[in-house]
Subunit: 329 residues, 2 copies
């Protein structure tokens, strides 16, 4: 199997142009990427940019409002369906889509299928503030049972090995306090299961441990994880905005502050870049038999290229095999 990545060229707010440009950038970095979408739209864009990237024709597309599962079943030639079929057939090692998350989830579940031993594929995000950590589930499974959190821990550990370069990642259970006995029945039972397992489980962790390196992997249900992820993004943006606003206000009264701000701006922008969701390019739909990356709907060329790179790295590093090995333990 090659580490070819199938890219849904019709998904996302800025498709197909930004997706095509992102694919060209990813290819320039050495990734074997194939565009999946309406050839009649994609071919002219490629010619315009002097690219000969391969295209797999998939003229249909799934719109944001459609019911994902039935759309995947009926639209055999939708770009996301065809990309998933390539992964299922072994023609691609992974796929990337910036289209409807629901459609990508449905395509992975219906067309690609799950890794043996995984009952609930999940969405995992890498949160880059401070010491980065993998958080999952951030939205695929709103309500879960304790055993699902153990699966999430295995899948998250594989992600941390591949993307955070941790040989033996530590795992924490997101809870409202450190002490055993805290939390809902879900957390109490999951704590016992995780403690009895063979992962490097460090016990309960809290939202306040984000960025501190307390655990490389943090597991929770998809409702809590989704709120956590969006809260972290919003807070980072709000704090950055407060810093910029404060400096701008001060600058109106003091020209020296303007100069000082100019001098520091490249360094502040470096922080912003490290926090930018586009740098990580997307979230992982993990548990499917292939590397599946869900890019933001608003993905730019830059975000698409990073998402394709993520998928290729996961495939090259044997993400799926690592999970399959881990779940047996």
């Amino acid at each position: 199997m090659t580490v070819r990545i199938a890219l849904d060229a019709m998904g996302g707010d800025h498709a197909p142009l930004q997706v095509v440009l992102g694919a060209i950038d990813a290819a320039a970095r050495g990734v074997d990427v194939v565009l999946v979408g309406a050839a009649s739209e994609l071919q002219p864009l490629l010619e315009e940019h002097d690219s000969d990237l391969p295209i797999v024709d998939a003229p249909d597309r799934i719109e944001m409002g459609e019911d994902p599962a039935s759309a995947i079943r009926t639209k055999k030639n939708a770009s996301v369906t065809v990309a998933a079929r390539m992964v299922a057939a072994g023609d691609a090692a992974g796929m990337v889509s910036a289209g409807s998350t629901g459609a990508t989830l449905a395509a992975a579940a219906i067309v690609i299928g799950r890794i043996p031993g995984i009952s609930r594929p999940a969405i995992a995000a890498i949160i880059p503030a401070g010491e980065p950590s993998v958080v999952l589930d951030v939205g695929a499974n709103l309500e879960v049972r304790p055993a699902h959190l153990v699966e999430f821990a295995v899948m998250g550990s594989a992600l941390a090995q591949v993307y955070l370069d941790r040989e033996e990642p530590t795992v924490g259970l997101i809870n409202i306090g450190e002490e055993a006995g805290k939390g809902r029945e879900l957390e109490k039972e999951a704590l016992a299961l995780l403690a009895a397992g063979s992962l490097h489980f460090v016990g309960n962790v809290e939202g306040r441990d984000l960025g501190l390196g307390t655990a490389d992997v943090m597991v929770t249900d998809g409702f809590t994880g989704n709120v956590l992820l969006k809260t972290a993004e919003a807070t980072a943006r709000a704090v950055a905005g407060m810093v910029i606003g404060e400096v701008a206000d001060a600058g109106e009264r003091d020209p020296v502050v303007v100069e000082a701000a100019g001098r520091l701006m490249p360094h502040l922008m470096a922080v912003r870049t490290r926090l930018d969701p586009e740098v990580f390019g997307g979230a992982h739909l993990i548990g499917a038999r292939g590397t599946v990356v869900i890019a933001h709907g608003s993905s730019s060329r830059f975000a698409i290229a990073n998402a394709v790179q993520l998928a290729a790295d996961g495939a090259a590093e044997g993400l799926v095999d690592r999970i399959e090995a881990g779940i047996d333990v």
Copy 2:
């Protein structure tokens, strides 16, 4: 009823000294505060600082490890129990404790009692990043029913009236997406109840709406809210740390950056102050028949003074009456 505030002088990591000093500061701001705790320890401290604040003797204290409900029932002379009794008797309009949150919750439930119509008192936090908003529940009720979220919305609206100066606060339901139909059964049913009510309900909101002013009040279950609050605090701290770290690294290579950083530091510190949990002084235990503020366990003199001020403001502005009026609507 006077707006006297009963302050648990024995609760908190730095009690009684920092609590006494905070009380002296609050009194200097004009708040009518009474210290509740071991007179034998408090009297010498007051004398040392030339203060004649009133003391109500309560020689016992409840330790962090004790079972809160049974401790409240058996330790009739514990400082938190006596403070709650003063509120129940109308000798104080509110109370503040930096001791065990569980003990304060139990004291409020057992000794003070609930506002008629409120079945689940909650803990509410004001999150100051960007446009501030009231978030509840942040930890008192880990699992709730849809009707409880409506109670939270009423109580949060009263808090936003008093502390955010919003005449008609907007209310949002924390969910994983804006569209109706998103979320767990809890959110689907609560959305219908809230939409049918008379509050200024704006529908579903997400973690990413924090700081944007989308809703003055955001309601959710206590598990999700606790994770949200701690995530926001951790992210703010991590981002601030990244800014400082980046500037420090740059300074090692470029002395001009050191100078620039020095010039901007007062402005960056102003942001830090706005984000500091100590400025808001604590979370509100809301739904009890009195203004109850839970200060951080690590509260300094400054945080205690702010917490006492919060409780006094709530009492003066009729927080309890506003909730009682709101819940009837």
